[in-house]
């Protein structure tokens, strides 16, 4: 799929394909790089090939070349050390790992060959490595066709500029890239360590029209960057995904960007894209349940958990993935939902559930209450191990500037007492400067003991 987009089809030679803070790469340069990589490394014997994936055009060129070479590609985050990449590659029984040479702008790759290669799948595939619960990665294999199925070609001459908030090597990042490249657009790729105000300026400078990001990512942008700069971005559409989307974030975005189309998407690494909602309201219509959806997925609720059958699902876990599951029709998503009237709302992840003396608490329910309190700019709820109650609800709050901690604490306690049951109320409140996001741009919920 990617090889077709870059090698075979007519491309807008002069238009920018990838823009980073330091460089921009035209479509013709991207094709030339991919061609060079294809010719230079086409004789790599291995068929299961790891690629250390950087946030630049050269990595997309390498990916297109490997697709053309019909390899099973495994995408490694470039932030992993070489040692760790090699260790994982050996565990996955890859035949080689390709690592960009040097730090500069060169399509040159270092080829590290490995013994004991597992058999080739027989075609071109892409395997996404995500952190599993054991710390060892889950390895979800997609076909390029499956990965590209949700891509909708835009109409006519419109060539969009997309912003890549996600890691380029994970499902959401690959989707954004494929959507952008299918429309012959320009992909604006920020550096990993950019702070919110530089991100806003970068979006403005590159003329970003489409942004796909998590609610947590937007919360940070809205909080820490200049509203004037944000309003100057020529946005057409904001796509939210990856986390529960609550009404306050939709309302805040609507307020800041009155004319923008607001979409939220439900997708997972394993299931691919399942459905989207664009009415600006949290949750999704109950009519989506037990019906065939436009993306081809079907949904049902079983014991409070959302189950999905999706044609965009992965093909399988790689045989050496830390997580294995039989390929079943219906996939339990781990997302707990609640039906209220004609709407289905996300309550939280089964795995994020906090067990307070036998009662279930979902962090999102508590976060929703605290986020509404004036003076609170961001919040994270997590379980804290308790020798007496099993777990207690703990929270970290980022206050808005110039808040008096003592009175904000009182306000938080008061609101929680008014709106939450005793076991849901946070027992430990800490004020922090910022809430860290995971590599996937989600609020971290790892429990602390």
């Amino acid at each position: 799929m990617l090889s077709r987009l870059i090698f075979d089809e007519t491309i807008p030679l002069e238009r920018k394909a990838v823009v980073t803070r330091a460089h921009s790469t035209s479509w013709s340069d991207l094709r030339a790089q991919a061609q060079w990589i294809f010719e230079t490394y086409g004789d790599v014997r291995a068929h299961r090939v790891g690629l250390s994936f950087r946030r630049n055009a050269e990595s997309y060129a390498a990916l297109a070349a490997l697709d053309r070479m019909r390899r099973d590609v495994f995408l490694f985050d470039a932030q992993l050390t070489l040692e760790e990449t090699l260790r994982l590659s050996k565990n996955l029984r890859l035949g080689a790992v390709l690592v960009p040479e040097g730090t500069g702008r060169s399509p040159k790759l270092q080829v590290l060959e490995l013994p004991d290669e597992e058999r080739w799948s027989g075609g071109s595939s892409i395997t996404i490595l995500t952190s599993g619960s054991t710390g060892e990665p889950k390895a979800a294999r997609h076909s390029w066709e499956g990965l590209a199925r949700p891509v909708r070609k835009g109409a006519g001459q419109f060539t969009p500029t997309w912003f890549l908030s996600y890691r380029p090597n994970l499902y959401a990042g690959l989707q954004v890239m494929l959507q952008c490249f299918a429309d012959r657009g320009t992909l604006a790729v920020p550096d990993t360590e950019m702070d919110p105000s530089s991100i806003a300026q970068f979006m403005c400078a590159t003329g970003v029209q489409f942004v796909s990001a998590t609610p947590s990512y937007w919360r940070r942008l809205l909080m820490f960057s200049d509203a004037k700069v944000l309003k100057g971005i020529p946005l057409v559409q904001i796509t939210l995904g990856g986390e529960v989307i609550d009404q306050p974030i939709l309302d805040k975005l609507r307020l800041c960007f009155p004319k923008v189309r607001l979409v939220h998407i439900y997708a997972t690494t394993e299931l691919g894209r399942c459905f989207s909602v664009s009415d600006g309201m949290a949750g999704f219509p109950a009519s989506y349940l037990n019906n065939l959806l436009p993306d081809g997925a079907e949904l049902k609720v079983h014991e409070g958990e959302l189950l999905v059958r999706s044609p965009n699902a992965m093909r399988m876990y790689d045989p050496y993935s830390s997580q294995q599951a039989p390929v079943t029709d219906w996939f339990a998503t781990g997302d707990v939902v609640e039906i209220k009237g004609d709407r289905v709302y996300f309550v939280g992840r089964k795995s994020d559930m906090i067990n307070v003396a036998g009662s279930k608490v979902y962090p999102v329910e508590v976060e929703r209450v605290i986020r509404m309190i004036p003076g609170v700019s961001d919040v994270r709820i997590f379980g804290k191990t308790s020798s007496i109650a099993g777990e207690l609800v703990a929270c970290e709050i980022v206050p808005e500037p110039d808040q008096d901690p003592a009175s904000l604490r009182d306000a938080v306690n008061q609101a929680c007492r008014a709106k939450l049951a005793s076991h849901q109320q946070p027992r430990l409140i800490k004020f922090v400067d910022r809430i860290d996001l995971s590599l996937a741009g989600k609020t971290l919920r790892s429990k602390t003991s």
Partner: protein
């Protein structure tokens, strides 16, 4: 009467627990009978975690059973 360091800490932590609950705390002393404070088990769980944050100790983590009647009985576990 002088209080021990840990008695002082427990009083402070319990005052904080009452504050969380939006209640005015009664006078607290080493002789205060804990059962009569009207606190629930989650309140004690909160106090124990706060004490662990302060002292680095959690006497309840071992699963041991203690005879705790007064505030002073609780404080001794952290000495």
């Amino acid at each position: 009467m002088t209080l021990t360091e840990n008695q002082n800490r427990i009083i402070e932590v319990l005052l904080d627990v009452f504050k969380t609950k939006g209640l005015t705390a009664p006078p607290l002393s080493p002789e205060t009978v804990l059962d009569q404070l009207g606190l629930e088990s989650l309140d004690f769980a909160q106090a124990v975690i706060r004490m662990e944050e302060i002292t680095g100790k959690d006497p309840f983590a071992t699963g041991a059973e203690y005879q705790i009647r007064t505030l002073s009985d609780l404080a001794v576990l952290y000495d």
